[in-house]
């Protein structure tokens, strides 16, 4: 309950204090961990490769991957919505697979490659999925959008690998790139503005399939 919580509250007054986050500042680069003060008994070092860049952090064990990204690496593109795995706003790609970064501990990902929305594309150099979301107006307020886009990139990878879904009629056939498939596969990302149909159109365009493909 030290300076770090004060920092969090000043930035995000609605966040409850005491959530999992360390009081040790982020360390970038290598081999400086020994210099970090051991401010909590449970501080643990973890190496991550975030958007292609090696990062060494010393974290309170309670720190979620989401909080490590946002509060320690200041990659605030990844959003905290429910913090309970229900909304999908915190979706990132870890070793190429989409997961909810709020429901995993940073220390559980030693050596992992993490891709956030900042790593997918940047202003002037958008990822095709980002460009398609813009083109199709796949958002309104934009809060869920980084999670939607990371999830959508993950979905296309899963379809490419032939992973079936709940709505795949034939489990052993290659999955279709239909609107019904995309809606089912994106069901872990909630959009309270209701941009769903435009999101499906954006993903469909990137997948190279016909917009509004048959269910």
């Amino acid at each position: 309950m030290t300076t770090h919580d004060a920092f969090r509250i000043s930035r995000r007054g609605l966040l409850k204090a005491g959530a999992a986050s360390a009081s040790v500042p982020a360390l970038s680069g290598a081999s400086t961990a020994a210099a970090a003060p051991a401010a909590t008994p449970a501080a643990t070092p973890v190496n991550l490769v975030v958007n292609g860049r090696p990062r060494l952090l010393v974290l309170d064990t309670r720190t979620s991957l989401l909080d490590a990204l946002r509060e320690h690496l200041h990659l605030t593109g990844t959003k905290k919505g429910c913090d309970h795995g229900q909304c999908g706003a915190c979706t990132v790609l870890v070793d190429g697979r989409r997961i909810k970064s709020c429901l995993t501990l940073a220390v559980m990902h030693e050596g992992a490659a993490v891709t956030t929305i900042e790593g997918l594309g940047q202003p002037g150099n958008l990822h095709p999925m980002q460009a398609a979301f813009v083109r199709h107006d796949g958002y309104q307020c934009g809060y869920c959008t980084p999670g939607q886009i990371c999830s959508a990139v993950g979905v296309l990878g899963e379809i490419e690998q032939g992973i079936p879904s709940h709505v795949s009629s034939d489990l052993t056939a290659r999955p279709l790139l239909s609107a019904a498939e995309l809606r089912e596969r994106m069901s872990g990302n909630i959009c309270r503005c209701g941009a769903y149909s435009n999101i499906v159109d954006a993903i469909t365009e990137v997948a190279g399939a016909n917009p509004g493909g048959k269910a």
Binding site: A42, T61, L103
Partner: protein, 316 residues
């Protein structure tokens, strides 16, 4: 979240030794349920043993024609495995009906079996719950209990087991393989793995303290047509009100297990003899001892209608 210490285990022996040595220790793999409960301080482990490095990620054939699924196989990978899709389709279907893509990428086979109820009164630490705080009472009995169990309940607890995967494993006669704290191994039939609440609803499985699941074994495929029908309040990403796992043979015989109705996957083998007589007869036998609460009597009808739809599909 309460503070905890953390270690990564690199072998099963190291993991069980750490669990035996450390009071309040828990294994963590996917973490999608445990961390959620830790944020709410419903689970407060003093020590976490990360078992992700134990190498239990393989799916391999067994000598008797079955399949051994490593405890750490992710739900996505199990659902997508070619042999599972072909020979154990009910298991693929059940997995794909559960959670969301992101969660299935993280959640493991063993963790899915051990996930805890989503009873809202278990989650609300202001409410009495015999599962969360033994002896405090059950708010669900007499509360809003539309989602709750209708059979196998007790005066102490009417929670359901939330897993879809476990219902398919029950209909497939799976067995849970473990390593005990003394290093010996044992095999627990899935029928005996989950417990009814009785007077100790906080005891949910047959696992001893510090016992580690290493794999789940499926017997040789039994053929037939496989179904997993899940009825829920929205089309995706919700827990079951009722689910039916079924394997139906060409001659109309088969197996049926239910989800969403009890503290464990609900199967009564004797009820399956009624399959040729239709969904009504099977449901009557499966739910003969049902004791619905104020808001969930509809589940009895819903089971019959869902099973009827499955059997109609099987005949088509």
């Amino acid at each position: 979240m309460k503070s905890f210490s953390y270690e990564r285990a690199s072998s099963p022996a190291q993991a069980i030794a750490a669990a035996a040595r450390t009071p309040g220790a828990r294994f963590i793999a996917g973490g999608t349920n445990l961390l959620d409960l830790m944020k709410l301080e419903i689970e407060t482990p003093a020590h976490l043993i990360d078992v992700n490095g134990l190498g239990f990620e393989r799916i391999e054939p067994t000598d008797d024609g079955g399949l051994r699924i490593g405890a750490l196989v992710r739900n996505t990978d199990l659902a997508a495995h070619a042999t599972v899709r072909r020979d154990y389709a009910v298991l693929s279907r059940a997995l794909l009906a559960g959670a969301s893509g992101q969660l299935r990428n993280k959640a493991t086979t063993a963790g899915n079996l051990l996930q805890r109820t989503r009873c809202p009164y278990f989650y609300d630490t202001q409410m009495a719950c015999n599962k969360r705080q033994p002896g405090s009472g059950c708010t669900a009995i007499g509360g809003v209990n539309r989602q709750h169990a209708i059979v196998g309940t007790s005066d102490a607890c009417i929670a359901t087991h939330p897993s879809d995967m476990a219902v398919a494993m029950r209909v497939l006669d799976a067995a849970v393989e473990t390593m005990r704290p003394d290093g010996t191994r044992r095999t627990i039939p899935i029928a005996d793995f989950h417990r009814l609440p009785g007077r100790t609803p906080q005891v949910e499985s047959a696992l001893a303290r510090g016992e580690l699941i290493t794999s789940v074994r499926l017997p040789a495929p039994v053929g037939g047509r496989h179904f997993y029908a899940k009825v829920r309040d929205r089309a995706s990403y919700a827990f079951a009100l009722v689910s039916v796992a079924a394997i139906v043979q060409r001659d109309g015989t088969g197996r049926v297990a239910l989800g969403g109705v009890a503290h464990k996957p609900w199967r009564i083998e004797a009820a399956e003899r009624e399959l040729p007589r239709g969904a009504g007869a099977v449901t009557a036998a499966l739910l003969a001892d049902a004791r619905p609460s104020e808001h969930n009597a509809f589940k009895v009808t819903l089971v019959e209608r869902t099973l009827d739809a499955v059997l109609a599909d099987a005949r088509s």
